[in-house]
Symmetry: C2
Subunit: 640 residues, 2 copies
Amino acid sequence: MDVPETSGYRLKNKVLGPALTTDQLEHERLGKPTALAVFASDALSSTAYASEEILRAMLPVIGFLAFTAFLVPITLALVTVLVILVFSYRQTIKAYPSAGGAYIVTKDNLGLMPAQVAGVALLTDYILTVAVSVSAGMAALYSAVPFFYPYRVEMALLFIAIIAWGNLRGVKESGRIFAVPTYAFIISMFAMIITGLVRGMVGGFSHVPMPAEHEAIGSGAVGLFLVLKGFASGGAAMTGVEAISNGVPAFKKPEAKHARETLVIMGAILGTLFVGISFLAAKYHTVPSAKVTVISQVAKHAFGNGPASHAIFFFVQAATMLILVLAANTSFADFPRLASFHADDAFMPKQLTKRGHRLVFSNGIVALAVAAAIPVVIFKADVNHLIPLYAIGVFTSFTLSQAGMSVRHIKLKEQGWKLGLFINGLGAFTTGVVTIVIGVMKFWHGAWFVIVLVPVMVALLVRLNRQYEAESVELEHEVDDAMQAPVRTRHSVLVLVSDLDRPTARAIQYARTLQADERRAVHAAADPEKAERLAHRWQELNMIRVPLDIVDCPDRRLARSVMDVVAEELADGRTEVTVLIPRREYTHWWHRLLHDRTSDELAKAVGRLPHANVTFVPYHFGSTPISAEERAAYHAAKHH
Amino acid sequence: MDVPETSGYRLKNKVLGPALTTDQLEHERLGKPTALAVFASDALSSTAYASEEILRAMLPVIGFLAFTAFLVPITLALVTVLVILVFSYRQTIKAYPSAGGAYIVTKDNLGLMPAQVAGVALLTDYILTVAVSVSAGMAALYSAVPFFYPYRVEMALLFIAIIAWGNLRGVKESGRIFAVPTYAFIISMFAMIITGLVRGMVGGFSHVPMPAEHEAIGSGAVGLFLVLKGFASGGAAMTGVEAISNGVPAFKKPEAKHARETLVIMGAILGTLFVGISFLAAKYHTVPSAKVTVISQVAKHAFGNGPASHAIFFFVQAATMLILVLAANTSFADFPRLASFHADDAFMPKQLTKRGHRLVFSNGIVALAVAAAIPVVIFKADVNHLIPLYAIGVFTSFTLSQAGMSVRHIKLKEQGWKLGLFINGLGAFTTGVVTIVIGVMKFWHGAWFVIVLVPVMVALLVRLNRQYEAESVELEHEVDDAMQAPVRTRHSVLVLVSDLDRPTARAIQYARTLQADERRAVHAAADPEKAERLAHRWQELNMIRVPLDIVDCPDRRLARSVMDVVAEELADGRTEVTVLIPRREYTHWWHRLLHDRTSDELAKAVGRLPHANVTFVPYHFGSTPISAEERAAYHAAKHH
């Protein structure tokens, strides 16, 4: 008997591609240049908005002329943090060559609970990475083609949907797809910086024309507070630095060595670009605007006004948009995996551990897409409003992960542990300070939300874990004895009957194959006249082996009436009750919509009683051949 | 064993009131004054917007001075139609004292198919009655209190929700609730007309001040076309005239006599109000505006400017709003009943025949609320945009119902049938002409939608009916023989096992109570290592009576693997298979959310095979007592 696939499954195969079997789970091994492309998109892409965010934080206060003096120093301070981070993560890669994410490192060294904090902070940040990157990608798009500005939210949601769909299909972390935009972005940024520097040194740095709808410009004094505010805003540039440490096994052998080298290269590129862009933005006196990004103003000004420059400008914007979208894609690889770690440890719903049709964690992908769409809609795809929520999570996880590494050095005292402790201790201290700076500086701009959300989520996860644990204890309790437990001595079979029809006949037939001490049909009489007709016909049929029992049901709650009958059977404590429910199986989904779900409701209600076993006896429409004449006769009778 | 009610059911009792038993289904008998209040709200309330709609249709073309000459004649033409309708429906009441709705009358005399047309046309109109009445009610509100104007859509939806909730609770068609607003409206309208007439005759009719944002005023010539357009717009005043004929059994005895008298009284009041309002609106040269209704302008002008007049004005607006909301309520009584007639005849989903918790047709009520909310949202609660969709449906059903009555007179030839035929024939002809006028005049303004919708819906209903018929024929086919059919000779019991745990133990225990020719446990191995561990433990337990069968499942589609196993068992054509699925019953709804629905999916898949009977063996969490020590030991083991 070969059963055809359902139409739902066939559709799934079309939309997502043919199903993959578990043994097809494998990882591509990447060389350094491709690995850089795959893992660096998140980190590098943040240079597209980091300098702008520093400007946005300071410009409304300190004014048009003073800001030049502070953009570059703040950038350099952030690059210092970056250098410390790179060295810290080199330690992590060495210690955890198989998987060195913050969750694993924290769990291993600080325990399960701190790991939940690190994990939740990181998950929050992955959600925001998608929201920020896609929104920034749309900003790159409408800076070049203003036509798209009014549709930025819809476009952003569309991109999230496309990325999610690609990930459900199981986009391979394939070098080719990633290499083109990442290198296009790196090359175009370097081209922009070099062109800008050379032209500036030759002809002097002129100012960018002020954009039409630019931000307010202030005239206040510069203070430590303001500088820290700018610093906190620029912290977003550091997100994604941890990506390589998560993916060491994807490198060609020797994995750890290649990963560490790639990390240094990535850090060098990121730092150089960040400083270069900030330098040009400062020299050009670029003013942020809602409708044109700072980086697109810089690019336009650096390349000048010729027709070739115009083409280059569009190329830069396209590369920026693509790398930002790729950065979002990185979160779609990381979030579901991290969520599955939580779920494996029973701190998140088990469904997140399940590999879908194409071997990816489908539930995690869908969850991320939905979660990222919410801030995009709420903040209308405005990067500036999303940034304060961002970075605090990632720095929290940096801190925990580096602290975990420090503890590890102290515990294990491996060769060179003192240097390692110094590096990771410095890393933990620095990122801890940055976390506090961001939390304080951005508190009222939205960081409060993340600061509240993370502990609430952690508390929720702990509650989940308690529930899972309680279930596991019970499920495994003396299971060997239970397997051999003596059976109940009496068996009662009840057939639920609504009408005298073929499904009922099928159920009666099945009931007769079962051995039982008691066997009867039960009809809950919501309509007394109908019940009487049924009883009469039952009598005519002389159904001695399965007598009919009519139960009053004046409140039309069939499930309740049936439960009462079943409960009575069970009352002696030694009876196993089998309740047979005839269930119609339809050939088309819409046929089912024409009927209510009484059989499911009944099953659910009866299932609430222990030792009440519900059996669905299927009746398949189309299994009884009906002649055309019979059909016509019926129709004629109904329509006069 | 007394099983507690679920929290869902307790909530239902709180929100909707305690459940009613079927024998509590009864009807209040109404005297003429209360009956008038109950049945007339729909018809009378339309005077709140009918004159305005005529003005809106004509004013943009014929101009400020000319329209005075046409508003009243058009109103009189419509009142003539009203008189014919009243006399026609007196005939219907006589012939159908138990239920004389268009569906019943048309089905009885013209057949099932024309009845579907009449019914669908009427259902469409009930939906629009709710949308129009609630929107017009909001217009009455914001004409008096402009603050509410921006919130009109939300307010309208809120009112629809409240009315639906009241009807789900089973609002009695109670005289008291209805009498106050209906009579308040009637009295205040008469007071307005009389005051206006007296003051006009004494001091002359002055013009209303032109509202700030009024409609455009034209200067074209008057033609037949334009007059017909005005006429078509005013047709909305006639909706609701059929209400009494639907509700004859609710009158005190002799029902038909009382109903006919009430109908005449209602017609007289409706006609008088309509003419009076149109007369004053014309004399006052009232110009429609988006933000103030015509009737509120008339009321303000008629009562003058003193402080007492101000209070009276607010009273008029309040009464108008309330009667409009009541009119919507009328549809909530009629729509579910009419839908249940369709469903009884198997032309609509059977679910619409089911009486809910409080004996009302709950599904119909919810369907109407959802359907009415859609046009309110689409047309932003703007009566003017809803009107062209309106009235065409009700006139279609008038025409069919009167045509049915004419056929009846010819067939039965009862005493006085010639006069009856003349009256109903005139009725059918007049309403038929009006239907065509409305269809043509309003075609491009939205009537096209209804003209397309009705046949499409009827076609859909016929398709449904065919499906129900096909099912019924099959269900009843040689059912007596089927009840006595011989049983299958072999019985195979398969226990689906995912883990070695208590639910599995329960299922094994139950399996051992069943008599079977074959009995085994089946594990679909999505994870080969886990499968091996399971097999090993099974062997240790020495489960001879229920051996374990491990089935490969590399594509992780458990349901598919299980189906293959079951299909193999069924292959001999003489085996009845029982598939036991251990099913966990949780104590809280959110506990269930923490697990996927594998057991349901498996049941659904296996149920696709004939003679594969799925039994859920319940395991109830909390049924195994666990000591605190055991719990603590487990926790310690997990958290190191």
